[in-house]
């Protein structure tokens, strides 16, 4: 556990005041917003899997760019933590709640309200910091970042400035085979804790805006990468690996569509050989890995084009928005706001919160409780002899990896288990829109199924039938085999009887076969299999069938 000082940070149940007290205008602000602000647009449908894609034309274009220009990409990622309550008050936060229903005097910034840190935020920050191979600050603090905006109730955001809780780490990424493969290491500059702001809801006619403070005070971790990425794919893979990590650690649901994982990307371009960075441009509104990848590649092309035309002075420090048009030609980045000098946030130490003091023992406890992380899992799967494609698929989702691990722990063959999971089971989940936790099949039964096929108890074909039964309804392999009398027939005498019956019942085909139409062997095999209700061992069947077909000659 943490030191005594740390222990004094406790979670505080806080109650909601009657809604009528909360806002004299029902929590609504009426006024126009002259400043533009990025509004996370809802885009792709729910996609739990992290799959990075990029248009092939852009990739080709990039190859050409790579010859004389180099892009430098850094990413700032905000991860919303899945603590039960907010960072500094006892309000729960549920995405999609009606506006201003998850609020209290503290997260509304009422006069006299004070923040009290939710200790789970520290635990989650330490977890992620360790998982990102960072050095932890045993003594860190909170600071106030000050600016005015209606979604920021206190007029400042509680954040960490000069002493982040974790810094100087790295993340390991395997680039998928289809994008050239390879292993990359990207630096992590820092991880710090902060609170989220509320949301502005702009009226359709643009005459007023409303403030929803449900999200205000929700804990975030901001992860800042080193400028180590060189193209859209690398950046998207970096983001995907971060998503994987936070999901493995169960610190966040990592859902990009709901804004639980938000990436702001900085892109600059410079001629190869130049050591000075080019002017960097920030891109926001990236709601999927593919938009991360596409937006970066678009932005690189745009900047390289300007370089080529001798107009690099047109590249200015600014924030651009990624617009997802319907066609490839309408997907582009557009200027959101130009930065006129650096904003002065007038950071100073947050006087309402004590220092964050971690004991080594507390850190060690968390270190020891970390699950096997994706990178270590991938290397282990690789050593098992699985192909990189299998490795990436299985390790992508912790639940699938856990299922796979449990299956092979029961003694199943590694490669067969991988094939079943990635093949029929994945297809079933996709069709039925289920996750691996929803299916009725257990790792024990999958292992049993694989063994039953391998040992010849059932055929592969029967195996598949049983699998779908198990996926949909559950039960055991043994039970199904017995119940449906599916045990494979391996007794040659029994099979011979069936072969003889089929041969005898099809004299015409026999004659044709013996006349040279040997393709008909398949017909006979099929008939015998049908007669055995699919249970005849195909090897024995074919051996006996050939003997019978050819013996009378």
């Amino acid at each position: 556990m943490a030191s005594t000082i740390f222990r004094s940070f406790q979670v505080h149940p806080f109650l909601l005041y009657p809604t009528s007290l909360l806002g004299r205008r029902n929590g609504v602000l009426y006024c126009t917003m002259k400043t533009t602000q990025s509004q996370p647009a809802t885009q792709e449908k729910h996609s739990p899997q992290t799959k990075v894609s990029s248009s092939s034309t852009q990739s080709k274009k990039l190859n050409k760019i790579a010859e004389d220009y180099e892009a430098v990409i850094g990413i700032e990622t905000h991860v919303q933590l899945s603590t039960l309550t907010k960072a500094f008050c006892g309000c729960p936060y549920n995405y999609g709640s009606p506006p201003n229903t998850c609020v209290c005097p503290i997260c509304m910034g009422l006069p006299g309200a004070l923040p009290v840190l939710n200790s789970r935020v520290i635990a989650f920050a330490v977890k992620l910091g360790l998982a990102l191979n960072c050095k932890l600050s045993l003594n860190s603090k909170f600071d106030r970042k000050q600016y005015f905006y209606p979604d920021l109730p206190k007029g400042y955001q509680i954040s960490q400035f000069d002493v982040p809780i974790a810094s100087g780490g790295y993340i390991d990424v395997d680039i998928p085979v289809e994008y050239g493969g390879g292993h990359k290491k990207f630096g992590i500059t820092r991880v710090h804790m902060e609170e989220d702001a509320g949301k502005l809801l702009h009226a359709d006619n643009g005459t007023y805006s409303q403030v929803d403070l449900n999200r205000a005070g929700v804990p975030l971790l901001e992860i800042v990468s080193e400028p180590d990425m060189r193209n859209g794919i690398e950046a998207a893979e970096y983001a995907a690996e971060l998503q994987r990590l936070v999901r493995y650690l169960r610190v966040s649901n990592g859902n990009m569509q709901e804004g639980s994982l938000r990436c702001d990307v900085n892109v600059s371009v410079r001629p190869i050989g130049q050591s000075k960075f080019g002017t960097k441009v920030e891109i926001k509104n990236l709601n999927s890995f593919s938009s991360v990848s596409r937006a970066i590649d678009f932005e690189i092309s745009r900047q390289v084009q300007l370089h080529r035309e001798g107009q690099e002075d047109q590249i200015v420090q600014e924030t651009r928005l990624w617009e997802e048009g319907a066609q490839a030609s309408t997907k582009k980045t557009v200027t959101m706001r130009k930065k006129e000098g650096l904003s002065d946030y007038r950071y100073f130490p947050e006087p309402d919160l004590p220092m964050v003091i971690l004991s080594q023992e507390y850190v060690d406890d968390i270190q020891n409780s970390l699950p096997e992380l994706p990178e270590i899992k991938r290397r282990r799967y690789e050593k098992m002899g699985l192909s990189m494609q299998d490795v990436l698929f299985l390790a992508n989702d912790k639940n699938i990896a856990d299922f796979f691990d449990a299956t092979i722990a029961k003694g199943a063959d590694t490669k067969l288990a991988a094939n079943w999971i990635m093949g029929d089971i994945a297809a079933f989940m996709k069709n039925e829109k289920l996750t691996i936790n929803d299916i009725k099949l257990t790792p024990e039964e999958l292992s049993e199924l694989i063994a039953s096929i391998k040992d010849g108890v059932i055929s592969g074909k029967i195996g598949k039938e049983i699998l779908f039964e198990l996926l949909a309804k559950g039960g055991t392999v043994k039970g199904l085999i017995e119940e449906k009398d599916l045990v494979q027939i391996t007794d040659p005498a029994e099979i011979e009887k069936m072969v003889e019956k089929v041969v005898a019942e099809n004299p015409k085909q026999l004659e044709q076969y013996r006349g040279g139409k040997t393709k008909l062997q398949g017909f006979f095999a099929g008939q015998v299999m049908k007669l055995s209700k699919g249970k005849a061992n195909p090897g024995i069947l074919n051996k006996i069938l050939l003997q019978k077909l050819n013996s009378k000659n």
């Binding site: 979670v11 149940p13 109650l15 602000l29 005097p105 006069p111 006299g112 400042y156």
Partner: protein, 553 residues
């Protein structure tokens, strides 16, 4: 996974806010107090002898004694106080709001006593509350136009604790806007007068609370002290003012001025009352992360009647007289009153030595930089968006600008500007950071001085109460008046101010306050020594002429 770690939100208001406190008064201690004439009778019925030299006694204890013995009802008591309030208020203007439920609450106390129900130790005690402490059933403006009519949805922890013990909040007292001022002239609503001479200021910023206790409009009152806002008005009005150690009393519900300096403090007409009120409100609060876990000792044994004392009751106590507080710029009348107090300590058996705090003069500039910096941040939430004064505008920046321009007074605006400047990029190191370094030096020099001495003494202010308007247009002169008190806030130490003498002025002289500074969390020692000093001070009765002349009740 998290549910076990986080207490579920409750739907009742702060259900677990305070565990009930042990009953304060044992029958034995009340007996000792009752060995003297009951002061509330003195003030209510014995007004023919206002020059009596009998030392002040606890209004709280005597109220309880009188109520439980049936000599007076809470309703009678409340009526007499309300009558006096009505008579004096047109001259004093100490209250911004007077509760309309005082009599109802008093009747409830009487009903309980009649029905032999238990009543809390503050039953029937009439408490004034500074307007920057949130009260759920009364407006709370902090003396600012920007919060005119604002009603918080919760009670400040200090207020709630007093109410839970049976205290009756009689009203909200006037103050300089958000605590920024030393006279109450910077209240957005009215100027409070000093009961000793209504042409003079009562001090500030808790001027309303001090004047109200002085003029017996209430028995005790709550204030707040950021740079002397309890102690200086206590000195000006001739009452006892207690500034607790930083972290001793929860700031939850106190509208923040400078969070690292703010403390809720107590006013009473006796040291015992200030101590008993402190005991009621002190202690850790899980809604204020900066409150200390330190136990709150029972101060009652310190308030023994003077008859039980030996001849040299403070034998061996080391008193340090801070040399720098008696130098140039301090009124000669103040200096002689403090020197007389030092002599009185020697008579009580103390050793009094002059002690030098070379960093003393650094306190004032450091204080004004730190307090302004923090206030510039703390007051950002008053943006007209969610509550308080909103000036309608069709554009966001005008809404902010106009709401704040109209809502804040000039002193507040000046401090916001100074603080914003001090925190700005490029100035932070020269101002804020340097002021923090000075703060460390001051803290260390106090620590050293308190190693050599048990208690440090000084004037509470360099002058007695001055005329209304005298320093209104000379902010530097007004700031200089805080020299005696700001160092104590920077060091976070407890300090007790009690009247020790008079200088000429007004019709009956003007009271002078003695400041006693103790070690952190050692309020008990200050109260013990202060009580003995007070009870042995002869020929001084601090009843202001406004009620000494004609108290009809």
């Amino acid at each position: 996974m998290l549910s076990a770690l986080q207490t579920p939100r409750s739907l009742s208001r702060f259900p677990l806010l305070h565990s009930p406190k042990p009953f304060l008064f044992h029958s034995s201690s009340t007996c000792r107090f009752s060995s003297r004439p009951l002061p509330y009778y003195a003030s209510l019925t014995d007004q023919s002898t206002p020059t009596s030299t009998s030392p002040p006694q606890s209004q709280i204890v005597n109220t309880r004694h009188a109520l439980l013995s049936g000599r007076v009802t809470a309703t009678e008591l409340a009526e007499s106080y309300l009558n006096r309030l009505r008579l004096t208020e047109p001259h004093l203007k100490s209250f911004l709001h007077v509760s309309d439920s005082v009599l109802r609450e008093a009747q409830e106390v009487d009903r309980k006593i009649a029905g032999n129900e238990a009543v809390g130790p503050f039953a029937g005690v009439l408490v004034g509350v500074k307007d920057n402490l949130c009260t759920a059933d009364m407006p709370s403006t902090g003396g600012s136009r920007i919060l005119e009519g604002y009603r918080p949805p919760f009670d400040a922890t200090a207020v709630k604790r007093v109410k839970d013990l049976g205290g009756i909040v009689i009203g909200k007292t006037n103050m300089d806007e958000f605590g920024m001022g030393s006279t109450t002239e910077d209240s957005a609503f009215q100027v409070t007068s000093n009961p000793w001479d209504v042409s003079r200021v009562p001090g500030g910023s808790s001027g309303g609370s001090a004047a109200a206790v002085s003029a017996k409009q209430c028995m005790v009152s709550l204030g707040s002290d950021t740079g002397g806002s309890v102690r200086q008005p206590a000195s000006f009005c001739g009452v006892v003012g207690l500034k607790p150690t930083y972290g001793r009393v929860s700031r939850f519900g106190l509208m923040a001025y400078a969070s690292s300096l703010d403390v809720v403090g107590c006013f009473g007409s006796s040291v015992a009352d200030a101590g008993i009120l402190l005991h009621a409100i002190a202690g850790q609060d899980r809604f204020d992360a900066t409150t200390s876990k330190q136990d709150v000792p029972n101060f009652i044994p310190h308030f023994a009647p003077v008859s039980s004392l030996e001849s040299k009751p403070l034998k061996g106590l080391r008193i340090g007289l801070i040399r720098e507080t008696l130098e140039d710029g301090v009124d000669t009348g103040v200096v002689s009153a403090i020197r007389a107090a030092a002599l009185h300590f020697e008579e009580l058996g103390c050793s009094v030595n002059e002690v030098s705090l070379p960093s003393f003069s650094l306190g004032l500039p450091a204080y004004y930089i730190l307090a302004s910096s923090e206030s510039s941040s703390n007051l950002s939430r008053y943006d007209g968006v969610r509550y308080g004064n909103q000036v309608f505008a069709d554009e966001l920046n005008s809404l902010y600008g106009d709401s704040r321009a109209e809502g804040f007074g000039s002193e507040v605006k000046m401090r916001i500007l100074m603080g914003t400047y001090a925190l700005s990029a490029g100035y932070y190191d020269a101002y804020y950071k340097r002021a923090q370094q000075v703060r460390t030096i001051i803290r260390n020099s106090f620590k050293e001085a308190l190693n050599q001495n048990d208690i440090l003494i000084s004037p509470a202010a360099p002058s007695p109460a001055y005329k209304i308007g005298e320093k209104k247009n000379d902010p530097l002169a007004m700031y200089a008046g805080d020299i005696m008190t700001v160092n104590v806030n920077l060091a976070g130490l407890p300090a007790l101010v009690l009247p020790c003498g008079f200088v000429e002025g007004g019709t009956a002289g003007l009271p002078i306050g003695l400041q006693m500074i103790g070690a952190a969390f050692n309020e008990g020692e200050l109260l013990r020594v202060g009580h003995i000093f007070e009870q042995t001070l002869e020929d001084c009765r601090f009843v202001p002429p406004i009620i000494a002349d004609n108290v009809p009740c």
